[in-house]
Symmetry: C2
């Protein structure tokens, strides 16, 4: 049974676009499709639309369930629904699977019209700016000229920030959680290890694994293990796993059996992920993350980059997030302040690490809800 | 040409042991060999011997060169030599490749006398306590009853600490750099990802790769990339690589060519390592690291564990080391203080990360040298 605060049963739909989209890499997509979900109702003045941007492994299924018996709801069900921070009694919420994704939008699993075969590794390397443009067209299609808010965490937060920089008058509020103005060398290095895990899997076949009836599932599982580990905090892991032994013994056998709980947890997470995600999309998404730089069109000057922003900005960072630490959010806050804006910044004390933006924390949720209540609709 | 502060040309030698060694796992090694190097001269009262314990990927070649034309000297040449902190004009320095190693000591690359074939993955899972016992016997063989100091960094520091706990009267000084009393769940998780990279490589062959004329080099390279990345600090990487592009362009081609400098650096490091290290040894060494717990024989009570220590202890930690952070060294310092000991603790400000114990830093080296000068010989 659904709880009262759930958006309930939801249905994804697909929007088809035939107006050519020029990507940052130079490639032109003549035709593309976007998988979408919406929750709540667009009001008559079309003033209450909120766009949800997803992170590395997310998609358009942000809230609700497809069947009442679904084990898990959408990935941000904690935050989206009646009475929740992104309150569907007030807001019309739009969630989209980004271009290059693997859950319904045009991407590596789609047919390349030039060859009649799957795009696979040849899908053009999309960037955050491409996603923003595709999302802008989706808004137009839905009759939305100005978003009440564009909201996202991690890579999703970067899209929200890019929206504010690039289309200042098309959004009134921008919420970026656990984000950064660009990646550090360490960030890029973690992504590179994830990619190498996939690219060196013999089942990778230069990315043409589907035509070889193969799946680089070991590489993808390993990539996910690396990612997942870096999204948790050291303290959070200690609290969750400590040094608990799965077998109750320090001995290992000749088959190198699992001995610590944290090992079996990571293997399970990695294994699960490899059954529900496409390896080419994972490579593509990590590249988009690496390439992102809010200030790249402003010769690296972040204050100049945010100079045109009209949206009221909320930046939320999490104390134990070492992948995109509070310091990185404060770089954006400082640039906004230097540019004469009035950003709101909140740093949440948590041991949830980078993943904290997806987790239940009373203070975080109440703060987020309070801020969203002052968004006019 | 060798600089004056070098130990010069060195020769490794092998010590053969036929007295059975009972390992912590229950296995008994009837015969084993240890690869050793020594620098300096043992004085007449045999009072000036210093034992160097190596870390995960180290060995007995700690200083000097085998040929004058060798590109690189031993791994701790910066610290060992005439006039250096571990001054070979005063000390007789002994460096040993640990049991299970792949550079001359008995390990996975040795023949299992029971089968006549290489041990490979069946080499017993050695632990830090086993290494200490093997080192103790090596000391006996060399006529050393009491070490002036036992010294090591990282996993080597754990051996030095285990020495002090287990054989209080057999060493007068204990120096542990960038160490910890035991690993955290996060530490274990990073090791597990490294192991999974090796174990899921199709060339692994359940560890019997040598008999299959195979080498799991991709997995080993990936494992090293994970390790290497975690030994560097985020700031250090930013200073070294920033977001510099190798190709001067944000574009990637269909072959997923390297774009960021940090990527090509990591790939190079990983590739190099996979040609000079044995995968079974890497798995075994990471397991020994995971299993280490100074207080395991004392029901987890660290203060009780250090209670019997007679050696004067120097703990050095490095500010940007997030793999074994200063907090972990201070746990040991606090336990020593609670037990009524007088430990010396130094925290070095550096962006060198965990690897800082191997790096040139004036303050670190002078501090280390000053402390070693008060060691009587």
């Amino acid at each position: 049974m659904m709880e009262a605060s759930s958006v309930g049963i939801v249905r994804p739909f697909t929007e088809v676009f035939d107006e050519p989209l020029s990507l940052a890499c130079g490639h032109v997509l003549d035709h593309y499709e976007l998988a979408v979900e919406t929750y709540g109702e667009l009001n008559t003045n079309k003033h209450n639309a909120v766009l949800i941007c997803h992170a590395l492994s997310g998609n358009h299924h942000a809230a609700g369930r497809y069947e009442a018996t679904d084990k898990n709801p959408g990935w941000w069900d904690l935050l989206i629904g009646p009475g929740k921070p992104i309150d569907t009694r007030r807001f019309f919420v739009v969630a989209v699977n980004n271009l290059g994704g693997c859950h319904g939008s045009t991407g590596p699993l789609s047919v390349n019209p030039d060859t009649g075969r799957l795009w696979g590794p040849d899908f053009p390397p999309v960037q955050v700016t491409d996603w923003v443009e595709a999302q802008r067209r989706l808004g137009e299609r839905l009759g939305i000229e100005q978003w009440a808010a564009v909201i996202g965490g991690s890579l999703g937060g970067m899209q929200a920030l890019q929206w504010a920089v690039e289309y200042p008058s098309n959004l009134r509020h921008c919420v970026a959680l656990a984000a950064a103005p660009k990646l550090t060398a360490q960030n890029i290095a973690f992504n590179e290890i994830a990619r190498q895990a996939i690219l060196t899997d013999p089942e990778w076949h230069e990315g043409h694994y589907t035509t070889q009836q193969a799946i680089p599932s070991r590489g993808l599982a390993l990539a996910r293990m690396v990612g997942h580990l870096t999204y948790m905090s050291a303290d959070g892991m200690s609290d969750k796993f400590g040094r608990e032994l799965r077998e109750g013994s320090f001995q290992t056998d000749a088959e190198q059996e699992v001995v610590f709980q944290v090992e079996s947890y990571l293997r399970y997470q990695g294994g699960q992920f490899s059954t529900r995600f496409d390896a080419n999309t994972y490579v593509l998404m990590t590249r988009a993350l690496d390439y992102f730089d809010m200030a790249s069109a402003f010769r690296g000057d972040l204050t100049a980059a945010v100079g045109a922003i009209e949206a009221r900005c909320l930046l939320i960072a999490f104390s134990s997030d070492w992948r995109f630490s509070p310091t990185r959010s404060r770089e954006i806050v400082d640039a906004l302040l230097c540019a004469g804006k009035c950003p709101t910044y909140a740093e949440i004390e948590t041991d949830g690490g980078h993943d904290a933006f997806l987790l239940d924390d009373t203070y975080y949720i109440e703060l987020f809800a309070a801020w969203m209540r002052q968004v006019d609709v």
